[in-house]
Amino acid sequence: MIDQDALTKKFQKEMNAGIASLVLLSVMEQATEPLYGYQVAKLLEDRSQATPMMKQGALYPVLRSLESSGLLESKVEPSVSGPPRRYYTITKAGRQSFQIWLQAWEQTKSYVDNILKGVSHD
């Protein structure tokens, strides 16, 4: 018996690996001020208006990995209530990467779309 659920989860995870970085970089690219994790999660929720593709908790490690690659930078600031917050901003290299990734995404998208369309016509 094939475990469809587990397979789908695995597929989703593999698909998300790169997309999460693109989506987060795009949010940071459009941002006019430094954002902290919760704000990013909220923005994604407001903008997508669809079932989120990943849990909010999974955004944080991606943000940190983008930071360690030099595409984002961050600073920790104390908050009025609760623990200090880490505010992220995009770097110049991050903006450049985003433009390149966006092209890669467009290519991938049209490639996949074309093939999938072919499938549905059969």
Binding site: K13, A17, Y36, G37, Y38, A41, E45, P52, M54, K55, Q56, G57, A58, Y60, P61, V62, R64, S65, S68, S69, V76, S79, S81, G82, P83, P84, R85, R86
Partner: protein
């Protein structure tokens, strides 16, 4: 069913058991930041909302401890190994591998770390000694206590910085965020955490030891470096500047015969190359020692 943020953090910590301790610290800090912020903003809208209910709703969006732990492990696995400048690709010959150390960023990082360890060691040591002596001598007065607490708190900042240095130069994963205090804790509880956390005291030990280590590193490096350079420069020094290899107490000069020049130069190069290998090795030892004292549970 998770009722409080603390419970969630405990569960997350349990899920991450066996992971890198720095990853655990980052994951806990992120989760705490998110959950508390989300909780606060939900309660702002509905003040009479039950906390456990609100938290359950937040967690369905944030992910269970299991899911969150998996996300960290996954990203860590994908990115960290790729970003750390891995050791240089092994070339075939033994000789090639021996000299490839000069192209190994880890060796240069360790060398740089060992050189600046003297400066950081002096700073840490002075800070620790000043802080300790101020705290102890002012303990006679009532304002001695706050001074001591401020000092203990400052240790965390210093150690976080040291952790960044260790990660950047020695390539040992260290926490990327300072450790948070348990939230909503009363001032007294916070003080208790600060004073009873063994890392506060181990960090203090680290700061004091760094002085000794930094001095030793610098002394040994400078000594070996000057030996290597002298050997390499020996032919030029003898032939052009008439500087002898060695002068005894009676003022008699000893020169290295000319057939020894290639040997001297080769010896100098070998000495420094071996030292580079040693430096890389000591750097990784130092990194593990720093991690043991500063982070490991």
């Amino acid at each position: 069913m998770t009722k409080t943020v603390e419970e969630y953090l405990q569960a997350l910590k349990a899920e991450l058991r066996g992971s890198d301790s720095a990853t655990v610290q980052d994951a806990l800090a992120d989760a705490e930041e998110h959950l508390r912020t989300a909780l606060a903003s939900m309660q702002e809208g509905q003040p009479d909302l039950d906390q456990a209910q609100a938290l359950a709703q937040i967690i369905t969006q944030y992910g269970t401890p299991e899911e969150t732990a998996a996300a960290y492990v996954e990203v860590e696995r994908r990115t960290f190994s790729g970003l750390t400048p891995a050791s240089v690709k092994k070339t075939g010959s033994w000789l090639g591998r021996f000299f490839a150390i000069y192209a190994d960023p880890r060796a240069w990082g360790a060398l740089f770390y060992m050189l600046i360890a003297f400066v950081t060691g002096v700073v840490y040591f002075s800070w620790a000694v000043i802080g300790l002596s101020l705290s102890v001598s002012l303990a006679l007065f009532i304002f001695g206590l706050p001074v001591m607490l401020l000092f203990l708190l400052s240790i965390r900042g210093v150690i976080w910085l040291e952790g960044r240095l260790v990660e950047a130069l020695l390539g040992i994963r260290m926490p990327r965020r300072p450790l948070f205090m348990p939230q909503n804790a009363k001032l007294l509880e916070r003080i208790k955490v600060l004073v009873t956390d063994k890392h506060t005291w181990l960090s203090l030990v680290y700061m004091l030891l760094q002085f000794v280590l930094g001095m030793a590193y610098l002394a040994v490096l400078v000594m070996v470096f000057s030996f290597s350079i002298s050997f390499i420069a020996l032919p030029v020094l003898q032939e052009m500047f008439d500087i002898p290899l060695f002068q005894n107490v009676n003022g008699i000069n000893y020169y290295l015969p000319q057939w020894g020049y290639p040997l001297a130069v080769l010896g100098g190069i070998l000495l420094w190359t071996v030292t580079m290998h040693l430096v890389k090795w000591i750097g990784s030892l130092h990194g593990r020692y720093a991690k043991f004292l500063l982070v490991t549970e």
